[in-house]
Amino acid sequence: MTDLQDSKLTEFEDNDQNPVGFGRMLRKEDARLLRGRGRFVDDVQLPGMLHLAILRSPFAHASIVSIDTSAAEASPGVKAVVTGETLKGLGLAWMPTLSNDVQAVLATDKVRFQGQEVAFVVAEDRYKARDALELIDVEYDVLEPVVDVRKSLAPDAPIIRTDLEGKADNHVFDWETGDEEETNRVFASADVVVKEDIVYPRVHPAPMETCGSVADFDPVEGRLRLWSTTQAPHAHRTLYAIVAGLPEHKIQVIAPDIGGGFGNKVPIYPGYVLSIVGSIVTGKPVKWMEDRSENLISTGFARDYIMRAEIAATREGKILAIRTNVLADHGAFNGTAAPVKYPAGFFGVFTGSYDIQAAHCKMTAVYTNKAPGGVAYACSFRITEAVYLVERIVDTLAYELQMDPAELRLKNFIQPDQFPYTTKTGWVYDSGNYEPTMRLAMEMAGYDELRKEQAEKRARGELMGIGIAFFTEAVGAGPRKNMDILGLGMADGCELRVHPTGKAVVRLSVKTQGQGHETTFAQIIAEELGIPPADIDVLHGDTDNTPFGLGTYGSRSTPVSGAAAALVARKVRDKARLIASAMLEVSVADLDWVKGAFQVKGDPGKSVTIQEIAFRAHGAGDLPDGVEGGLEAQICYNPSNLTYPHGAYICVVDIDPGTAEVKVRRFIAVDDCGTRINPMIIEGQVHGGLTDGVGMALMEMISFDEDGNCLGASLMDYLIPTALEVPDWETGYTVTPSPHHPIGAKGVGESATVGSPPAIVNAVVDALKPFGVRHADMPLTPSRVWDAMRGQATPPI
């Protein structure tokens, strides 16, 4: 057990520095959340509200022969029972996915994954609704499922998407990036080529709060209010308008407090739509709150890539080229949440942080009888997979060259003077300075001493491993010309209003799921205007009260919305300058901005504060010519590029040679996310992501049996890590500002989830070097590590 030491208490004190701008401060939202005063979707209670429960398919693949709902309809307290046939009549049985596929809202013809929505019951309470589900009699004709993704394109594979006209296979898309010919040429002449099959298994975001909604349709006004667990309220509103044919101005989507998202709450799930249908059918507000098992088996999964990776290098360790062939399992419907022109998300950054000559990727995505999804779990649109691929294959190269993996990376980094750097797959990295980040991590770890300790331990037969991962992330989608979700450009609005007394309210299009937006955005405004964060209210998550924007995922809040907040504050400041010049009776050019006040050049005694200006803007008397009353502004920010944070992670593990249990002893994480707004919040996000990484590397995986039954339907079976599996995180930072972001900030929310799995796996594989292990796939459970120790490592799927 760990004791709370004095040094830790000092750290807590340091977190409360009352900055007027950037710096450590406690989170404004925590007073509410920690005292149980948060208001989540399941806390919403409306007069006359009914409860909805969903009947789900027990089979992975089966035709629906008949459904008898009569007994359920007669069950006490039941108000409505609805099947796919009813929805078909309303034209609502199918809905578009975020990737231009369609997905069943309720199954009509057949079910395509275990847990798929088949019917729903609305009843007086959730017990009665759940009880009535058992009275619905569905006759299925069970079909052979496609479970093994490697066999999905076999000529005799059952066809899953019989709903798509003329569909004769389970193929979703092919995708390619890079220069195949050039890459082949470089590979052909390289001294060394290393090839490895690398699997990133299917995992689940498993947020603490499951998905749910409360729909309240007012038939008189034709108005729909929908409280839902959404990371993107505005995008959802527009999609409901398009799908359901409701006028957009009559739809209000409210995302109240959200208990974790990690990408799980980006898609529109059938349950949200069903609650709307339920409210329309019954004329009452209807709540749907999925249970844990439903969340785990039916909502957006992540990863599920089988990657053949190859790396070419000189004998001296200069990396020349990387190529990969990927088989992607997209489940029964292509529900990937990614910009439309990027079916593989941002996987194209698989060339990592290295200056190489050529790269190429070919990907095939397929349907299987598993839940749909594909981008979720803090993955920055598939960068998690890309970084895992490159950091694993670079380590296998180090293994073959018998070279230190840190030295190999240092030798191949993109150099500071090469930025902005265009990769061989066309991504323009905005800024980076990799070596100091790497050196700092090595220094914090005591890298040379660790290697010495490892050598001594190996001589005694003990298993210790040191793993390194260096990542470059690409976060903050758009720009809108390249990036859109179903035609909605990836840009974000922001509105700022300063009240007469100098307090302010800022309205965001993005939505926190726990990341601390109410603090971070107040600090951005504070930094620009000199108004204390405590005086700034941050509103978000309600489409009626906030400007349009695409929402929070892919670490885009600070890169996009954070830029909008800074720029809208500057607009307000520009106006304040005009008013100040009138108040001080000097020309605008004679004013200096000193955070929170304008003062006359050369006469610091003559100044007006932003609060005084705010009152003047609303007060008696004339304003300068052409200046309207009030002190407010709005903006829509379209980023010119993504931001590219980077980081160096070092993990130290010990493995029990007798039981093959892995213990993560130390983890050093040095992150560079450009300008740091609230270091405490950054560290908190990094801690969370590193913990996620321990989960994925060591225990998490959604597995299926041969019939397509999901074997991870509860948190007893689908394991997520606890505080006992993680070490005391050691974090550090460097600062390389983004050149195009107004305050130089880059996203950081997903960095640690992206960077930690390869560091941990590299450490485990390093520990197993005495057994001649060059690669072992996640999850590295004791049983799988034991297999690897005996030279019998197998892919998990």
Binding site: D42, E134, S293, M699, T722, P782, S783
Partner: protein
């Protein structure tokens, strides 16, 4: 929130009153003690009972650890936390503290009970392995105050099945003490803190003049039942403890168990762990007996 099917609920006021309720309601009723296995199963609708009889108010009657010269008696309602924290118990059979440290988490340990754990009869259950290791006997009370005492082997009828009839309650566990130096230990491999065992092993050793007069090993999660392995006891009796002997015991454990491959690990790995953990716990048990 996962919601169970409808059920009726009653709080028992005494053991005999609870037995009376069971007698009346038969197999449609179930006792709930800590509830940390039963309630999740009901919420998942894997278990559906018409009646729940809550026996938490019987903790005063059935929550105790009593030490005498020839045995330790533990009441069935004794909670995990009490087993973990009992210095008396740790002094005699430290295997309990070893095991309780790796059972679930503090929230579960605050509520879960010894009797509940045994009656759940999950093949991966830790306290069943501990009780098997210590050659425990189980006191079962029925209508009219009739008591019968069964061995652990008799108690476990099969996975999730025990010798306790519909109208009976497990009231007490008795652990025999012998007039020799005793040491005991428990070890568990789990994928994550609080998870069910991949494999776990308990060992107890009684020494006289440096020789093993008796030794027992109990394994969990490697077969349908948590049973002792008499062949190990026979192989160890009369010998001086040695690494070679532990290896022999480990080999017997590995070949005597019957694990299956599942998401916790392969059958081969579990067999290996039966070997490895048997050796480890025997080694620790002997060290403790000697100290």
């Amino acid at each position: 929130m996962q919601v169970p099917a409808p059920f009726e609920y009653e709080r028992a006021t005494s053991v005999d009153q609870a037995i009376g309720l069971l007698e009346r309601l038969g197999s449609s009723a179930r006792l709930v003690a800590g509830g940390h296995s039963l309630l999740p199963m009901m919420k998942l609708r894997l278990a559906n009972f018409e009646y729940l009889i809550d026996i938490n108010d019987l903790h005063g009657e059935l929550g105790y650890i009593r030490l005498s010269d020839d045995e330790v008696r533990i009441g069935a309602m004794t909670r995990h936390r009490e087993l973990l924290e009992s210095d008396v118990l740790a002094g005699v059979f430290p295997i309990f503290r070893d095991a309780e440290r790796v059972i679930a988490d503090p929230v579960v340990r605050n509520r879960g009970t010894l009797g509940g754990s045994l009656c759940q009869a999950d093949p991966s259950e830790d306290l069943s392995a501990v009780c098997t290791t210590l050659d425990a006997s189980c006191v079962i009370r029925g209508p009219g105050g009739a008591e019968r005492v069964v061995t652990m082997e008799e108690f476990h009828v099969g996975p999730y099945e025990t010798a306790v009839a519909d109208n009976e309650i497990l009231t007490e566990i008795r652990l025999p003490r012998k007039s020799f130096k005793v040491g005991s230990a428990y070890a568990k491999v789990e994928r994550r803190a609080g998870d069910w065992a991949v494999v776990s092993s308990g060992a107890a050793v009684w020494l006289d003049a440096g020789r093993i007069v008796d030794a027992r090993v109990g394994l969990a999660a490697v077969g349908p039942n948590t049973t002792g392995i008499p062949e190990i006891s026979a192989a160890l009796r009369g010998h001086e403890p040695s690494e070679e002997l532990y290896r022999l015991a480990g080999a017997i454990a590995a070949r005597s168990c019957d694990p299956v491959t599942d998401t916790r690990g392969s059958a081969d790995y579990k067999r290996h762990l039966a070997d490895e953990l048997t050796r480890r716990t025997l080694r620790t048990a002997v060290e403790r007996a000697r100290s």
